[in-house]
């Protein structure tokens, strides 16, 4: 970066975007990023919810099978062969 042309190009002034618009853009992007982050965490939430639903279904199933087994055992003891 030592020759005169390169030095002149490197020293050209920076441009300044319109401050109000730049701020609107920044705030809009922040809002979008926040929405995306909350959506991402919300989409992670239901998967743990689904897991708890599966556990409850399994528990209810086990209890149901235990109840039916007990009903059959009691019925056999009452009506079954002596």
């Amino acid at each position: 970066m030592s020759d005169p042309l390169t030095r002149l190009l490197a020293e050209l002034p920076l441009g300044e975007p319109d401050a109000a618009r730049a701020e609107r853009t920044r705030m809009g992007c922040r809002a979008l990023l926040a929405r995306q982050a909350s959506r991402a965490s919300a989409s992670r939430g239901p998967s743990s919810g689904r897991r708890s639903v599966q556990v409850w279904q399994l528990l209810i199933g086990v209890l149901g099978v235990a109840y039916l087994t007990e009903v059959i055992v009691q019925a056999l003891s009452v009506y079954g062969p002596p």
């Binding site: 970066m1 020759d3 005169p4 042309l5 390169t6 002149l8 190009l9 490197a10 050209l12 002034p13 920076l14 441009g15 300044e16 975007p17 319109d18 618009r21 730049a22 853009t25 920044r26 809009g28 992007c29 922040r30 979008l32 990023l33 926040a34 995306q36 982050a37 991402a40």
Partner: protein, 199 residues
Amino acid sequence: MERDTELALVERLRRGDLDAFDDVYAAFNTRLFTFLVRLSRRRDVAEDLLEETWLRLVKHAQRLGADTRLGPWLFTVARNLHVSYLRSRMLEDSAAASLIALWPFSLEHSSPFEAAAASELERRIERALAAMPAASREVLLLVAVAGLDHSDAADICGITPEALRQRLHRARETLSKVLERDAEAGVPAPGGMTSCPIR
């Protein structure tokens, strides 16, 4: 920006950290705007493309690679948006040049920076840059003005480093010739400008 800082920023951006976005915005907004306004030669277009560049970053934030280099990523998006803009408006330089040749009046390319230039030399450089073909202008802006290295600039433009080197060499020759021509017309050029080696 230090590489470690950049990697940490990328990680925070991927998690949706708003302060990380502010840091990236503060680091690159002015540089991106400067690049876009000199590339497009219009403030309004540059501001539209700048806004879209930031929106693209936010939309892709969660899918950024952990080793993403933010500068080249942002300049690539900005540059590609400008190419899309040119295509959509059919303002490709060559097409525009042929149309302008048919126009009965002489249309001079100008840059928004010209009016604000602090010196006559600066004004001539801005005018010369603005009059260059877009492909030449963008390599000069990326390498000499934005300070990106050759391999990053080549990636941004979608060309090989060797092609970039050649394009840069031609662009510098063109710019030197234009400035020399201006100098012959009255204003002296900076010393040694005619034999500029490639950086």
